[in-house]
Assembly symmetry: C2
Homo-oligomer: 184 residues x 2
DNA sequence: ACCTGAACACCGTTCAAGT
DNA sequence: ACCTGAACACCGTTCAAGT
């Protein structure tokens, strides 16, 4: 049973990467597997859950060793890993953000950010606020960036650069705000 | 022609507010107006454009007089207005964020933020970075907040408060980061 | 346990034809 | 100019029935 579920998720990622999110329908996935649409519900209960599983698998594949030790370096490390994991697959940002919005999966980056901020000495009542601020920044920036990248590769006008440099600078802005509130 | 377009948008907002985004289909809207689905395309070319028009109308309705004079107070003012406008209608956050993601409409808040940051003395190359950071923060926070509110009113478990106080504190975090880079 | 087949209740968009 | 009617190519989910 576990085997089949992972199988469905793996195929879903492959289909997603090749045809995009709009094509990640149960019917297309079923056709791809040579099976009836209704058969998918035996492995993953519904579309939302399947999308969350896809998001989690993307993040898991993008996992990298942790090198940083200082709290703020750890924040940057988590954010870079998250951004790269989202950019690594077609429509990856949208999938991860959607899953997060519905409170499904993708909770690991948030936990790592929270830990880093706590260890940094940020007052308890600001740890959640800071974590969310950073997460929203990464999500928003990466969604915009990926859309611009995909639009550019499709021949459309790329009106926004917002590459890695802008990402880092936006992050530093928030980090400076947090540093100003660290008690030590 | 203009009249009909506005009429479609106004009805769309009413339907949206009563039945939610998932019900804002061309077919339902057409039924609501006592018309064939294909008739809508004579006033608004497609669904995406209609959604952008709805987003713009929401923001326009939420417009308030500008009182603040200091640049950072103006930023807070714009953000509060934006948040309130999104929260004022069902699924408002999602509609506005989606429209913004596709680069359609909703450009006015970004322009006002940019102006405020420029007037504040933030270096030119950081104005866009700061504007986006703030916008992403507002979008992310408000989307989460509205989802929690709607889930709570639907009887589900509200696992996240994240009300106005958290909103302000997240914003202050970024503003502190920006203040640290203002040359004056 | 896993899957089929069929149905249910929907989508957005196009386009010839009418008034 | 505005709308109908019909079609095209899809959706997610449910559920009795088969193996």
């Amino acid at each position: 049973m576990r085997y089949h579920r992972n199988d469905v998720v793996a195929r879903a990622i492959a289909v997603l990467d090749e045809y995009g999110l709009e094509s990640l329908s149960m019917r297309r996935l079923a056709t791809d597997r040579g099976v009836q649409p209704s058969a998918l519900n035996h492995h993953v209960p519904n579309k939302q859950t399947r999308l969350a599983a896809v998001a989690d698998e993307k993040l898991a594949r993008g996992r990298r060793p942790r090198r940083a030790t200082r709290w703020d370096e750890r924040v940057v490390e988590v954010c870079r890993e998250l951004r790269d994991a989202m950019l690594a697959y077609r429509d990856g940002a949208e999938v991860v953000v959607t899953a997060h919005t519905f409170g499904l999966g993708a909770g690991e980056p948030a936990d790592r950010l929270r830990d880093a901020l706590r260890d940094g000495g940020l007052p308890d009542d600001l740890v959640d606020v800071g974590t969310r601020a950073i997460l929203h920044l990464v999500f928003g920036h990466t969604t915009e960036e990926q859309l611009a990248l995909q639009a550019a590769s499709a021949g459309a006008i790329d009106r926004a650069p917002g590459g890695p440099a802008d990402f880092e600078r936006g992050l530093e802005l928030v980090l400076d705000g947090i540093r100003a509130r660290v008690t030590s």
